[in-house]
Point group: C2
Chain length 325, copies 2
């Protein structure tokens, strides 16, 4: 693998910055007092399409050549990459086919269609999205836009880290800890690369659902390990069984370790974020905040950056979480 | 009344800026395409204590003299000013008594107590909060912190407008329209003063619940008019029967007119803001967005600033709105 550095993220930012929201970095005095820390929340749930995924999709799709654009793209995704590819394709005026699990949140399926993509639903227990994607790519000459294991995607997601670094630098603040969700590892690979460049002493941690903590286990074992299939989690965006080859190679360099949280911890965090930050986070988008609020690491007197990566949760499911609380 | 200008807001900002969140100004590509406009949402629901009210309370309380601080303060409020006064009192280490309607949202009553204020509940149909407040003020020598009809409060709320103006100026953007909720009129008086100073051509509109459109009617009649008591609205923060003397004198200078929305329109807007902006807005905080989304004014090709003033809604009520939708 060619070396991946912050410069590729700077390049990506030049390419996409006019087509994304520069998402806010906010502080809650209540959560600061609760954790005895200075916590900065990066609100990628406010990003257009409802998650950070737009950054990577735009960086990839805007670099396609004229002949590639002619046949369009294909992608597989649990939902946030799907919406991002659909939206990025729409504004680049190319055709998109997206393969999504049939049990994906309705809000994600409907938004993907709304942006004009053709949606193909598959059964995640009995079918392989990679195989379906590769077949469509071959048959229809569509470029496959991978969800994370691609340097252009990783560089795009990393632009969120660049924004964090710029804002903290302007405030003359040096963060001690960075907590970020991890599915395939694209967002954390990109953002941790930028944050480690700007703040060499920062300690970066991946946060995953307990049963899908493949990056945590892989980091501990210093090699890619798969978790056993068959588990479930409400964190639909983070159900990867193993890290990507490219993302893991980067994350081994930038991360100090991995953390994980339970579904119940995530549900409580979603409510805490609504009550105290007045934001809607989806389960996968709330795991980093959940690691913070459930004290998975020592926080006292630390300056901590927490990624809130997405907000695409079905209103009815959100409503149910509140009722069951 | 002494002349109120942007300079008092600049002074207030110097006083309070280190004790508040500089709230984000965000854009939704989806809402832009829906309205065919460029819309900037100012997210005061993310402000500490969950609403803009902290700005005014801090500006007022931080200017109290040593002898005034000794006896503490008293305030009456439907809930957001209550929390703001309680929090501002706490960080200024003074005692606070707050008079709240017994039917105020639980989240507001509980937060006010959490910040250490003594809460006195009253019956809004049969008791006068002003009378209770004045009695306590006299008996206990507490300074009465009015919710809106006070130049220091108005200047404090105006700092949100200063932040909007600075951010748009940096982007070289000149807004055409400003939509802001209006209860007693403090927030809109302060923010519209600053926005008119920075952008003299901007058209500012108050937005109220249909049955509590006293500012709209008063603007049309060029004098203070009361609406008939006895109506109800889910917008608990905006149930003023008539404009304040001071706020109306300012708003007559700065506002082009008033708009109003129904409770059902507000409920739909709360859901739209959750789905598209991923934020929690309370009913009163959503009326300006509701005027936009329900086309109360022509929006095509306009640049519009929309105030989202607060997010203190009971989770169960929020959940009910989603279920009933």
């Amino acid at each position: 693998m060619s070396k991946f550095t912050y410069t590729q993220i700077d390049e990506a930012y030049k390419r996409i910055h006019s087509q994304i929201l520069r998402t806010p970095l906010v502080v809650s005095e209540y959560i600061n007092s609760l954790t005895k820390a200075n916590v900065y929340f990066k609100l990628e749930n406010l990003q257009w399409t409802g998650s950070f995924k737009l950054r990577g999709a735009l960086n990839k799709i805007s670099q396609l050549g004229v002949s590639e654009k002619k046949y369009g793209v294909v992608a597989y995704s649990s939902g946030n990459h799907a919406q991002a590819v659909a939206y990025a394709s729409k504004i680049n005026q190319i055709s998109a086919v997206v393969i999504m699990p049939k049990n994906a949140p309705l809000i994600k399926i409907n938004s993907t269609k709304k942006y004009g993509a053709e949606v193909i639903l598959y059964d995640p227990l009995n079918e392989s999205r990679e195989e379906i994607g590769q077949k469509i790519s071959k048959d229809q000459q569509r470029v496959l836009i991978k969800p994370y294991d691609d340097l252009d995607i990783i560089a795009g997601q990393g632009t969120s880290g660049k924004e964090i670094a710029e804002e903290l630098t302007n405030l003359n603040i040096f963060p001690d800890i960075y907590l970020c969700c991890c599915g395939g590892g694209g967002l954390i690979a990109g953002t941790s690369t930028y944050l480690k460049y700007q703040f060499p002493k920062i300690n970066c941690y991946s946060v995953e659902p307990n049963e899908f903590n493949d990056t945590q286990v892989s980091l501990e074992n210093k090699r890619i390990i798969s978790v056993v299939k068959g588990s479930e989690s409400i964190c639909d965006a983070l159900l990867a069984f193993q890290p990507g080859d490219i993302t893991f190679a980067i994350n081994q360099q930038t991360l100090l370790g991995g953390l994980s949280v339970s579904d119940n911890e995530v549900k409580n965090t979603i409510i805490q974020l609504a009550e105290n930050l007045k934001i809607i986070a989806e389960p996968g988008g709330a795991v980093a905040a959940s690691a913070l609020l459930n004290k998975k690491i020592e926080t006292k007197n630390k300056t901590i950056v927490v990624m809130v990566s997405g907000g695409n949760i079905d209103n009815n499911f959100y409503s149910k979480i509140v009722r069951d609380n």
